[in-house]
Symmetry: C2
């Protein structure tokens, strides 16, 4: 699969390139990693001439809170309004040995013939790291072509933090009388979401009370995040209001600083996953690494930022005798024959030098 080609197609809004993009980003084979880096390079802010315009929305909450039913209703409504939507559903149970009592978990309903919708279920990352890097990369890539990209995860307390690192907007979904989320919020363990949704509004007083309790807790914490009550069962209730709240949120968002922060955080976490605490120390600790990242071109994509960290840590790449296949630790994309200078690349000559140099080497 030609990564750069897929990237260019997504950039031009060709949604048909999305499934292959996800496959490529999920692959762990070394040649595919290089292709994946080339794909991401084509979708960097520098190549796009700005941030990818799609709204990346994290949707999280305890199991059984009705996330899938809610997403089915949202996707239907988005499509009816002419918006395209991709949903990346992260399945945490796949990393457990025991089977699920509920059997097949609730699925998101959609028309498989509709190209304007893409639903993909992926396994959670290993325990160390949470959200898989492939999911983060996929969300960013799809945001170039889809109007909305949803990352759906299951959890309370930690799930929000992980999703917040990638998403523009975090929505926490709660079912009526779910006191745990309230407790997590109150205790300061859980980050405050941008939007809280109480599902199963058809349960009436219980849903209203949950909504009131959550609203009071948020206000006491100094937050103005909206709390909405929805019923996803036909005819549906509150879905349009939720879509409107998301639209309003997207409109007021200053995307650039948030996405930039997100790319830097991802680059550091991917670097640490690969090189460990000792690799971070070699950069002068997390502060040193953050300092380095701030000095890089804001238009760079995540793999290019990781490569910049690796270049700054001499010895972190292929120390003699490590025994890993040669090139395993070389910056992603290096040596890929498909790597080329982006026609839309708009970096200052000084900042873009390392990448451009590598692109030239690769082109030889």
């Amino acid at each position: 699969m030609l990564g750069a080609d897929l990237g260019r197609r997504l950039r031009e809004g060709d949604l048909a390139a999305a499934p292959d993009t996800l496959n490529l980003l999920e692959s762990t084979a070394a040649p595919d990693r290089a292709q994946a880096a080339a794909l991401q390079h084509e979708l960097s802010p520098a190549a796009l001439g700005g941030e990818a315009p799609g709204h990346i929305v994290g949707v999280t909450g305890p199991p059984g809170s009705g996330k899938s039913t809610l997403l089915s209703a949202l996707v239907r409504r988005w499509r009816a309004r002419g918006s395209t939507a991709a949903v990346l559903a992260v399945d945490p149970s796949s990393r457990r040995s025991g089977g699920a009592l509920l059997g097949d978990r609730a699925r998101i309903d959609f028309d498989p013939a509709d190209r304007g919708v893409l639903i993909r279920s992926t396994a959670a990352g290993t325990r160390l790291g949470g959200l898989a890097p492939a999911t983060r990369a996929a969300a960013q890539a799809l945001a170039a072509a889809f109007d909305v990209v949803v990352i759906e995860t299951v959890g309370v307390g930690q799930a929000e933090t992980e999703v917040a690192e990638v998403a523009d907007t975090v929505v926490v979904v709660v079912q009526p009388a779910s006191g745990d989320v309230l407790q997590f919020l109150k205790s300061g363990i859980m980050e405050i979401p941008d939007l809280l949704v109480v599902t199963k509004a058809d349960l009436g007083p219980l849903a209203l009370r949950t909504r009131r309790d959550l609203g009071a807790a948020l206000r006491a914490l100094g937050s103005h995040s909206p709390v909405l009550a929805v019923s996803a069962l036909p005819p549906g209730e509150g879905i349009d209001e939720l879509i409107e709240a998301l639209r309003a949120r997207r409109a007021e968002l200053d995307l650039s600083p948030r996405r930039l922060r997100s790319r830097r955080a991802q680059a550091l976490s991917e670097y640490e996953r690969e090189h460990g605490a000792r690799g971070v120390r070699a950069l002068g600790g997390r502060r040193g690494a953050q300092e380095l990242l701030r000095g890089e071109d804001p238009g760079l994509e995540v793999p290019a930022l990781v490569a910049a960290l690796e270049r700054a840590a001499p010895g972190e790449c292929s120390p003699p005798g490590e025994g890993s296949p040669p090139g395993e630790c070389s910056p992603p994309g290096e040596g890929s024959p498909l790597r080329e200078r982006s026609p839309r690349g708009a970096r200052s000559p000084q900042q873009s030098r390392p990448i451009a140099a590598r692109a030239e080497e690769a082109g030889r």
Copy 2:
């Protein structure tokens, strides 16, 4: 602080050595790391002539479920029965920027003049890794001297998994009508605990119903873990039954294989935290690392196992040009003047060679 001395004192049941032990294990200064390794060496199964006899109990559950009140009641009852108890409470909110709405969280009541009780609150590890290595090491060290060592964590879904890696027994604490834990169990995301406790039994029917629902869910999952209802408010209800259930569980536990598995898992996770995915690849992946660990003396303590992994990955220790302070990556304990051959050490000459060799060098 002399690590080996603290270790010897704990081995002889001197509870007064416990606070200094915790301070030493929490320190990140390089000389302290060496002393900490020496301490752990004195408490290795080889040095103890078997596993540390204390019962390591993980207690976890959502915030507000009444864990602290329950632990206050348990500690009181344990002391009344003549058992000593240490509680390591992990505070996850310390890694969040926002303050807690509940203000000071519930504290565990105890008599500070009583040497038979130790309560220590520690910060959670960074997001990558969960339970801090210091907490794991502390639990294992204190199990040499205290009858019960409790690790208290807050969370649903992931917290149990992390605690299960260290604890002999995992207790999940739930308040009445807390549907989220039930949902996590049913969905297969949460590991099945060894004991489930429904607090606030004074709430009557609601507590009984929660207990019944959880019991039914566990049976449907093929588990026979007991579900107990307790009220920690004076006069208290079900506390003796809980203590009895823990005692019975401890009596039937085959400690050796469980602790051995735990030490190996911890060694691999500490190694990975330090050297990253690339360090793991240098050992032939996780499988290769596990294979290596299985070949090591079962009597070795965690830092010695980490050192064994580091020796097996050439180039993972101080690659030229890394720029980190020399010796930063050297096996823990190496170069410590206090390192010495344990008088009770009972390793085969072949297996113990590397450690013994290092001990000799250190003794010179």
